[in-house]
């Protein structure tokens, strides 16, 4: 008996040891790769980041007077009255760190593999995206971030010190981009890869981000010295900012297929079959924005919004309503934010400028925004340049980006008999019209306060495209001064100045996460706010 038992045990042991390689070596992951080139991570990180900024800040589109809710849907009260909890828009925080982790990989892997250009892009994009988090949450985890389980409770770092490091990181990124032996393979650089001069454009983008971060600090008198030093560094570097036509935007090659359209199109546009998405129905135009565009004879109203009563096909939207501004047949209607009085069929959905096509690029910072930043900096005397010319170029670029064309009907006839002006001419006619009528919100000379004019027109250009920057300006300068707060009963009269830290941070990183006072969304300022 013993013999048999022993031989069984020995047999088993031999089997266990003997087949170690073949028997156990079956768990190489067949479903997902465990190592990839930095470029392959960069493509997705850029695309996802652009989508994140375009879709996760939808609440700022509501707060900044661009959007409202349709009357068709029962909307949670906390979305209407600013009385939100820590769970409100948690994804702004959580998703952005997720995206940043990918850029962190690009930076680190770029460094390890000697791909300096990717490393530089990683640094620049991290700095830019981190600034969006600071602008939303103030103090955030920064130095401790992206360490996996090595630092499982990342500490929250002072927002001002982060901002200063972001500028330093941008400088370091620019240095890498300048000196990299070769630029990134265009197939991975879905931002500037096809431009022919991606090196210059990446550096310009980095400088523009720097300018945006410095301008955010404009109302802090104590920062003047720092700002002038950093402006001097930008000037000394010499490449300059994103100029006309130099939009910082991505397009990996969107096609009309599930999940493969432009990310804003996926979220707020139309299905592959052209049927409107849920968000396209839930979010409608804001009365305030429509009134402003119309009062200023601004053709862009037709590009940010579509007339009521029209079908979802963007091709139809213009054809149905080529009436000039002031024509009673034009049919743009919005709800106020907080009032859901009018249902879908009576309100304007998103227009054909921001939903141009499923394959339109997804912007980070448009040339128009860059020019508005430069116009403000010039007006403040930070940089040299003609503020008025920069302002006008910014407005023209806004029309260009939207491809906002003006149609003049020659007779009471359909569109084919119309005169069509190019976006640039349309913009010029708009500026001229403002000058002719002396519109304070359009005409440089008529405007009593040029900064106010620049910010008002910047607001008009950033609609849906970069609502976070519009919110930044509002919190920094209180402009545009008449942006209406929610009319929902009990909402109060103050637009929130920040989001609360996510509930998950309190759940899993409670010791590090700052405890905010009640009503923090109204009172707890971002560090650069006056």
């Amino acid at each position: 008996m013993k013999k048999i038992v022993y031989s069984l045990i020995i047999g088993t042991a031999v089997f266990a040891v003997g087949c170690k390689k073949s028997f156990y070596d079956v768990n190489t992951n067949p479903n997902q790769p465990t190592a990839v080139a930095p470029g392959l991570v960069l493509t997705n990180a850029l695309n996802t980041a652009a989508g994140q900024l375009l879709t996760d800040y939808d609440f700022t589109n509501l707060w900044m007077g661009y959007w409202s809710y349709s009357g068709n849907y029962a909307i949670a009260t906390s979305n209407l009255n600013y009385q939100f909890t820590n769970s409100f828009n948690q994804s702004v925080f959580n998703n952005m760190y997720d995206i940043l982790n990918d850029f962190d990989y690009v930076e680190k892997k770029g460094n390890e593999s000697g791909d300096k250009f990717s490393e530089g892009i990683g640094k620049v994009m991290k700095a830019f995206l981190f600034s969006t988090l600071v602008d939303t949450y103030n103090d955030i985890p920064y130095g401790d971030a992206f360490k996996g389980t090595a630092v499982i409770n990342p500490t929250y770092q002072g927002a001002q010190s982060i901002y200063e490091d972001l500028i330093a990181q941008l400088t370091a990124g620019i240095d890498l981009l300048k000196t990299a032996p070769q630029v990134l393979d265009p197939k991975y650089d879905i931002m500037f890869g096809t431009s022919g001069d991606s090196r210059t454009l990446w550096i310009k983008f980095a400088n523009t981000v720097k300018l945006r971060l410095l301008l955010n600090q404009s109302e802090r008198a104590d920062r003047a010295g720092y700002i002038s030093t950093e402006i001097a560094n930008i000037v000394a570097e010499g490449t300059g900012f994103l100029d006309a036509t130099e939009d910082a935007q991505v397009n990996p090659g969107y096609i009309n297929s599930d999940n493969k359209q432009n990310p804003f199109w996926i979220g707020y546009g139309f299905g592959t079959d052209g049927a409107p998405t849920g968000n396209n129905n839930i979010f409608r135009s804001h009365e305030y924005a429509i009134d402003w565009y119309q009062a200023n004879a601004d053709w862009r109203v037709r590009y940010f919004y579509a007339p009521t009563g029209y079908g979802p096909s963007p091709d139809n939207l213009l054809v149905g309503n080529p009436a000039p501004v002031g024509d009673p047949t034009n049919n743009y209607v919005g709800n106020e934010f907080g009032d859901q009085g009018i249902p879908n069929s009576g309100t304007s959905p998103f227009g054909p400028g921001i939903l141009r096509s499923f394959d339109m690029p997804a912007p980070f910072i448009t040339a128009s925004e860059s020019l508005f930043l430069q116009a403000e900096a010039a007006q403040r005397g930070w940089i040299t340049g003609d503020a008025e010319q920069l302002y006008k170029a910014a407005v023209i670029e806004s029309f260009n980006w939207l491809q906002a064309k003006e149609y003049i009907r020659t007779k009471s006839s359909p569109v084919k008999d119309s005169i069509v002006f190019s976006p640039a001419i349309t913009a010029a006619r708009y500026l001229q019209h403002g000058e002719d009528l002396g519109l304070e919100d359009v005409d440089w000379n008529s405007a009593p306060d040029k900064i106010e004019l620049i910010i008002r027109q910047k607001w008009a250009a950033l609609n849906t495209i970069d609502p976070l920057e519009a919110w930044n300006d509002y919190r920094r300068l209180g402009l545009p001064a008449d942006v209406p707060p929610s009319v929902f009963p009990g909402a109060g009269t103050v637009i929130p100045v920040r989001l609360l830290y996510p509930q998950r941070e309190y759940d899993v990183n409670g010791a590090s996460t700052p405890v905010l006072p009640s009503n923090a969304q109204f009172t707890s300022k971002i560090w650069w706010m006056p």
Partner: protein, 1064 residues
């Protein structure tokens, strides 16, 4: 060998005759039908000690002529036989029903006497299992075994089940029992694929000790299903069971108010309109409108009717403005289940054969839902000298056809039923092609006609299961057996979900009532389809040697040494096509753009080596120890091998202590104790459609970026879960003690067990701060304690008369205290999903939801202006969601051929989140929302700021609204209002059957018996008054996060039916 033995016997016989000395007497214990009774005890009257027969009933005992052998066996009446001069004494025992010390099948299919086991086991026989004519074995086990908890997720046509033994051990890993079918471990999901009529018995090994030999999958206990074998005589059974299922309870609904949903609450000037003064809105889904008054009102808007010549007219449907409370109930069908069975069993001395076929055809309560299960099984055995082979092959085909989401928001059917005001004649919209019922004309502007989804959105599944096993045994020596076993399970699953496209009429898109109706929002909907195909297989090989040897007259040794190899594989392919361009043609080739595809595969190999040793001393003291080492492919080589032992002891003190043996009152008494450690590879599955068996948890991975690739541009993103190469198996240590007592000749049986299990080193995918770059990390952390006791009492019979009346009763009770001891340093809780959490220091699992801001005494603080409570941003714990107390009662009364049986159970000690309540309050048809007749009111038990900052009881601050804004927009935001006690009493089974007297068939030779039966299941349910929503046994799924129900679960049902069985 046998010859030598016979020779020996002869020699011994001579010796006995010559010296009148003790000699060896052999024999076989059988039942009346000649089938062996295993493990009978054979004693020489007046002598000490005794011997046990083996599993085949064979015994050998030293006796002399004139001795009286006392043969006793579980479930049989004791018999005394005098030994004559013969050397072979075959005894047949008469069966009784005292089954306390029955035979149990323990690990690896090894039969043991119950008296030998040092751990808790329970056996449910085929009769008990099938008395309620269940179609699903899990349902048939509910309430019948202490420690075993069965939860049916819902009452769909093929519901998933959750089966746990003694609560939960793993915080986020698997807690369901392992299923072992005829010796082969298979996934617990197969329990739904096995024909309950094929089951000979179900043995439940409750603790980890019992299962140490099955390897790490068995740490949650084991359910061993042994299927039927043929007897000596050929028997053909044919039966039909037909049952009817109907909704038994709807949530409590209001019948006073019709449609209004806050339309125009803010007029253009911003002036608030009092919702109570609002007019009736004929197209609204919410019921916050005027009180019913019996007037004739329009329902929906004008609907366009076309004449044959193309001209048209508009017509509006008019209905009576009064509640039609039965419409919701009548929406649901009476489900019909038709079950047909045929089986044939036969055998002889050296073989047995069993073949069966079953067809279960289910029509569900949700209109259009159906399922069908067709299966066949062949079992057989053949003895050939020292060689024996057992085989079994089962094939089950299961098809399901269930309603999917609707075209607008993908909501479940029940949601759309809820969002139908009470005056709406819902069932009159059944024909979705009628102008008032179709996508254009249906009254409800915001939610589609529920019949649309019934007709046009279907999820169809097709599942083929193949389960096979072969066992070969070679009796090398009398005391040495070699066994080899091969088991295979294969599943081939296909699913296709289709949702039809919709085109709306222009007049509907124009939104004639300016309601913002679905047609104006959607414009059109293209058809969509989803295809999934999964192939999964598991091959298991076992090779072991078993030894059974009497070391001396008093000492018996049983040893089992073996090894087991498991290979698992799975593969899935999924294709979703969200927009197709040909109506009613659901093929991916017609996709607009590109389909979304997913490919997954996984495999896992395991090797185990084990040893199991039992010492039996004089058949009353048993010491048992097991040891097992596992090697698994899914862990890092440094952690791949893990070892775990167990020991247990059983002591039958009534046999050991002279004073107690042959006691008239106490007839049987045993105490037992066990200690075990089990390693459990409880790694999270990584697949979307397949469980990757825990593989691929060691290395960080990159997922394809959303939308990628774009043409030739690929994109990857780091996975959000931080992987961990150092992950080790979880470890459960379980201690158990128990006592088993039999009184009055085992007429009264009592068992009690106490267990204490602690699982440490859990493999937890804990949530971590997003700032780490990841949302979760897999760590060896966290501990859970699981203690409890189980009591079983059986009185069998309580009454037995000469006239043939017999009455049995049984009760089982379980108490479980499941507590989370730790999660991770600095982390107090982990979410299990569905609002359910594991919270340190609290019972597992607990429900945590939003609640109102309250004062120290728990009074709700209301706003001094609006009178509304405000939502507390911090979630609050409302307690345990797993019942801590479970009581099962069963009884049977028989008189001649007539048998009545019933099973009831009680569960308590837990709460449930009836999230469906929120949907009902949103819709405004809830009884809840009409409690104050839609008037403003003082929020009960509230406090309010008296103006100075002091909180005083609120007596006069009334809510700013008592209508939709309060109930549908404020009140239903706090899920705490839907948390209630989950206690219930259920009358689970009641059955009456009649066996026609055998005499009737005495003159016909082709029929041997007939049985007719009536039965009912879930006939009654009693819940605390506060729970007027649904069955608290339901869950969102069969995962660990039990304790929440939503509109995804249709209301509870009741089943009644009849059965006819003919035996040939």
């Amino acid at each position: 060998m046998r010859k030598i033995l016979s020779l020996l016997t002869v020699l011994l016989l001579f010796a006995a005759l010559a010296f009148s000395q003790t000699r060896l007497v052999t024999g076989r214990v059988t039942n009346e039908r000649g089938e062996p009774i295993p493990f009978a005890t054979v004693k020489v009257k007046g002598g000490k000690g005794g011997v046990a027969a083996d599993a085949e009933g064979n015994f050998r005992v030293q006796a002399k002529t004139g001795d009286v052998l006392v043969l006793s066996a579980t479930g049989a009446i004791n018999k005394e036989v005098e030994v004559g001069t013969e050397s072979v004494v075959n005894v047949s025992l008469v069966k009784t029903n005292e089954e306390l010390t029955s035979v149990v099948v323990t690990a690896l299919g090894v039969k043991k006497q119950s008296r030998e086991t040092g751990f808790a086991t329970a056996v449910v026989g085929t009769k008990e299992l099938n008395q309620g004519k269940v179609t699903n074995i899990a349902t048939g086990l509910a309430a019948k075994v202490s420690g075993l908890q069965i939860n049916l997720v819902n009452n769909g046509v093929d519901p998933a089940t959750r089966i746990t033994l003694r609560g939960n051990r793993s915080i986020l890993g698997n807690n369901q029992a392992l299923l072992v079918l005829d010796g082969v471990p298979v996934s617990i999901g197969y329990i739904n694929s096995i024909n309950p009529n094929d089951v000979d018995n179900v043995t439940v090994l409750k603790g980890a000790t019992a299962s140490a030999l099955y390897g790490s999958d068995a740490s949650n206990g084991v359910i061993i299903i042994t299927t039927k074998k043929g007897g000596k005589r050929p028997v053909i059974k044919v039966s039909n069971t037909t049952s009817f299922e109907s909704i038994s309870y709807l949530p409590k609904l209001q019948t006073g108010f019709g449609s209004y949903g806050g339309e125009s609450y803010s007029a253009p000037g911003g002036v608030l309109i009092d919702p109570l003064a609002a007019p009736y809105f004929p197209y609204e889904n919410q019921s916050y409108g005027p009180a019913y008054n019996g007037a004739t009102v329009p329902l929906g808007g004008p609907v366009r009717f076309y004449r044959a010549d193309g001209s048209y007219y508009d017509s509006t449907l008019m209905v009576k403005y009064s509640a039609k409370p039965n419409e919701k109930l009548n929406f649901f069908d009476v489900g019909v289940t038709m079950q047909n069975d045929i089986s044939f069993a036969t055998g002889d001395d050296n073989s047995s054969f069993y073949i069966s076929m079953q067809d279960v055809n289910v029509k569900g309560v949700v209109p259009g839902d159906k399922a069908r299960r067709t299966g066949a099984r062949i079992n057989g055995m053949r003895n050939y000298g020292r060689f024996r082979v057992d085989y079994g092959l089962g094939y089950t085909k299961k098809t399901t056809d269930q309603v999917g989401g609707e075209y607008s928001q993908g909501r479940p059917v029940y949601w759309n039923v809820i969002n139908t005001p009470m005056h709406v004649p819902l069932t009159s919209f059944k024909d979705i092609n009628q102008p008032f019922s179709d996508v254009n004309g249906y009254f409800n502007a915001y939610y589609p006609n529920p019949y649309w989804a019934v007709n046009n959105s279907r999820n169809k599944g097709n599942n083929d299961d193949l389960l096979g096993n072969i066992t070969m045994q070679l009796k090398v020596l009398d005391w040495l057996n070699l066994t080899g076993r091969l088991g295979y399970t294969g599943t081939y699953y296909d699913q296709k979900n289709t949702t039809a496209g919709v085109t709306f009429a222009d007049w509907a898109i124009a939104d004639p009532l300016s309601a913002g109706n679905i047609p104006s929002s959607l414009q059109f909907v293209n058809p969509s389809s989803f295809d999934l195909s999964i192939k999964q297989s598991k091959i298991l090989g076992d090779l072991f040697a078993s030894i059974n040897k009497d070391l001396s007259r008093d000492l018996n040794l049983k040893v089992l040494v073996g090894t087991s190899v498991t290979k698992q594989k799975a593969r899935a392919l999924a294709i979703s096509s969200n927009s197709l361009f040909i109506p009613d043609f659901y093929n991916t080739s017609a996709v607009i753009g590109q389909p979304v595809v997913l490919e997954e595969e996984a495999q896992r190999n395991d090797l185990g080596a084990y040893a199991d040793v039992t010492f039996g001393y004089r058949d009353f003291l048993f010491l048992h120890a097991t040891a097992r080492n596992d090697w698994t492919s899914v862990l890092d080589p440094s952690n791949r091998s893990f070892f775990y032992p167990s020991v247990d002891a059983a002591f039958v003190f009534t046999d050991a202590i002279k004073a107690l043996s042959n006691g008239k009152f106490l007839s049987y008494g045993k105490i037992r104790a066990a200690y075990s450690e089990v390693g459990q590879v409880s790694l999270p599955g990584q697949g979307v459609y397949i469980n990757t068996f825990g593989a691929y948890n060691l290395e960080n991975i990159f997922n394809v970026g959303f939308g990628f690739p774009f043409g030739g541009t690929g994109g990857y993103t780091l996975d959000n879960n931080y992987k961990n190469p150092a992950i080790r198996p979880e470890r459960t240590v379980e201690k158990e003690i128990g006592i088993e007592l039999g009184f009055l000749n085992n007429r009264i049986n009592f068992q009690a067990a106490y267990f204490d299990a602690r699982t440490t080193d859990q493999t937890l995918p804990v949530q971590i701060s997003a700032a780490t770059g990841y949302s979760g990390a897999l760590l060896n952390t966290g501990a859970m304690s699981n203690k409890g006791y189980e009591l079983d009492l059986k009185v069998s019979p309580i009454v037995r008369t000469r006239g043939g009346l017999r009455w049995d009763v049984g009760a089982n009770f379980s108490y479980i205290k499941n507590e989370v001891l730790s999660v991770y340093p600095g982390l107090d809780e982990v979410s299990l999903g569905n609002s359910v959490y594991a919270i340190v220091g609290k019972p597992y699992p607990s429900v945590k939801v939003t609640d109102w801001v309250r004062d120290d005494q728990g009074h709700v603080i209301v706003d001094k202006v609006t009178g509304y409570p405000t939502l507390d941003p911090t979630l609050k714990n409302f307690g345990n969601t797993n019942p801590t107390i479970r009581l099962g009662l069963n009884t049977s009364v028989s008189y001649k051929g007539l048998t009545f049986s019933a099973v009831a159970d009680y569960r308590a000690g837990n709460v449930i989140l009836n999230a469906v309540g929120s949907a009902l309050d949103f819709g405004g048809i809830s009884w809840h929302s009409a409690q104050t007749n839609r008037q403003r009111f003082v929020f009960p038990n509230s406090v309010v700021d008296d103006g100075t900052g002091k909180l005083v009881p609120n007596t006069s601050t009334i809510t700013a609204d008592g209508n939709w804004r309060f109930w549908a927009n404020t009140y239903n935001q706090a899920s705490s209002v839907y948390v209630t006690s989950a206690a219930f009493w259920k009358l689970r089974e009641m059955a009456l059957s009649y066996d026609l007297p055998k005499e009737i068939f005495s003159h016909v030779n082709w029929i041997k018996g007939a049985q007719f039966g009536l039965f009912g299941r879930n006939l009654l349910m009693f819940r605390p008054k506060e729970n007027f929503w649904t069955d608290p046994e339901f869950n969102e799924n069969n995962g660990n996060a039990i304790g929440r129900t939503t509109e995804n679960q249709t209301p509870p049902t009741r089943i009644v039916g009849f059965n006819v069985t003919l035996t040939f």
